[in-house]
Symmetry: C2
Subunit: 238 residues, 2 copies
DNA sequence: TCAAAAAATGACGATGTGTCAATAATGGAA
DNA sequence: TTCCATTATTGACACATCGTCATTTTTTGA
């Protein structure tokens, strides 16, 4: 049926529009800035109609988080399969570049990721959407974990008996998420002596990978150049 | 005047009671769970009286954050001056142990630190309390930074020209904050292969410090034992 | 004992969430 | 085309919450 197609399409479009408005409100003024009434007003629909798309406010936030994670996933996938990589550690550097680009290019997405991790919204959300989120997170993990396992298989790095490939990913993840959280939430880092946090983050990540003996080591190869290259060549579109 | 003393004391006690109730609500159900009405009811005072102590909800949260930071600061100070340290890196390990113990012992405090970093509460809060927060943060930085500078002075580690002592602290801070945020917000880390995140965190931190060539290196000295020692000997009180 | 100062109260306006009975629009059968 | 069943939309409503402030109660000190 043609009409069913149109209806379905309109529904999708409205849903996208809701999420777009919600994203703006959320990044402007946080959890409280996101108002169902204001979404309804700006959509020129009544509140009841909005509630037919999303059971509640938390579902909207979780939907935004899923969009964010999907975008991150997409960028990680591109980075992981970057054809310019000449070793497993290059691919890891490409992931780092993708993570940087993700925050720079979609700061709102990153903001949602942060909100979801701190605000207690989980009780009110649907099992289905929580599952999507969980799956996305797992797939992100798989991609980066895959690079580590490739490196292990090629003998590019070694792990102590007590550590798994996932622990390496956890390290990168922690370092990256922590650093960006601090950067975005702490004004005047300069004042306390952190002049270039992103450069410091890169450095610290590389030192950690060096710790796993992931060859070529940081002093053997300029991974900063690699990351810059990936950022411009692969994710350079403004 | 005796009466002035009593009044002042009562005011302090009430304030402490408010914060205590608020802390419970906040950690139970997040930002929304903290209700001024419910605080008033449970205090057996009217709402207006609560508002004589704190201008608004955000001020309460910021006050809680200051308590948390002060506690962290106190523990870091104890760790930094630990008499059992036999080298600068031992003292750094002691800071790591303090950070671990802080989260274990005061999970609510850590929860507040997270909320403050993500919820946009800053606009409504007073300059004064923001300043306290900023100062605490700076002093935490100073303590850990001091250990790094001591290490540099003793020739225990070296820095590349482009990195400052604060960048090392930033690395430890990011790694620790990121790891604990992920751990507390992501159920079923086991499912994605991270079996012992805290052990992984320790390992990753040590690898990072090794990257700065902070001697004795991780494979030369068992810093896990050092941290366990600090945790039981210095912060062992249950 | 009493009046001025200080403290406490809670009704109130504003804003927000989520519901649901009532209304409008739509689609297809006769 | 007409008409009715189904679906979509509406917005008033009940309820919760924040922060205010005129009013009431308590305290203080002369």
């Amino acid at each position: 049926m043609v009409t069913i197609g149109r209806k379905e399409r309109e529904k999708q479009e409205r849903e996208a529009k809701i999420l777009q408005l919600a994203r703006g409100m959320l990044s402007d003024a946080g959890y409280l800035g996101l108002s169902m009434d204001r979404i309804a007003t700006q959509m020129e629909y009544s509140k009841g109609t909005i509630y037919q798309h999303f059971q509640n406010k938390e579902e909207i936030i979780l939907a935004l988080a899923n969009e964010a994670l999907e975008k991150r996933l997409e960028m990680f996938e591109i980075a992981a399969t970057w054809s310019g990589a000449s070793c497993s550690r290059d691919r890891m550097a490409a992931i780092g570049a993708a993570a940087e680009r993700f925050v720079e290019k979609y700061p709102q997405h990153f903001g949602v990721e942060q909100i979801v991790r701190s605000a207690s919204i989980w009780e009110k959300t649907s099992e289905e959407r929580r599952h999507i989120m969980h799956t996305c997170e797992g797939r992100c993990m798989q991609i980066v974990g895959g690079i580590v396992r490739d490196g292990l298989a090629h003998g590019d790095l070694e792990l102590p008996a007590s550590r798994s490939a996932e622990d390496v990913v956890f390290g990168m993840w922690s370092l990256n998420f922590g650093a960006y959280t601090i950067v975005t939430s702490s004004e005047s880092l300069e004042e306390i002596g952190i002049l270039n946090p992103i450069a410091a983050l890169r450095h610290n990540q590389n030192l950690m990978l060096d710790g796993y003996n992931w060859r070529p080591l940081y002093n053997e190869k300029n991974y900063d150049a690699t990351m810059d290259q990936v950022k411009t060549e692969v994710f350079g579109d403004e």
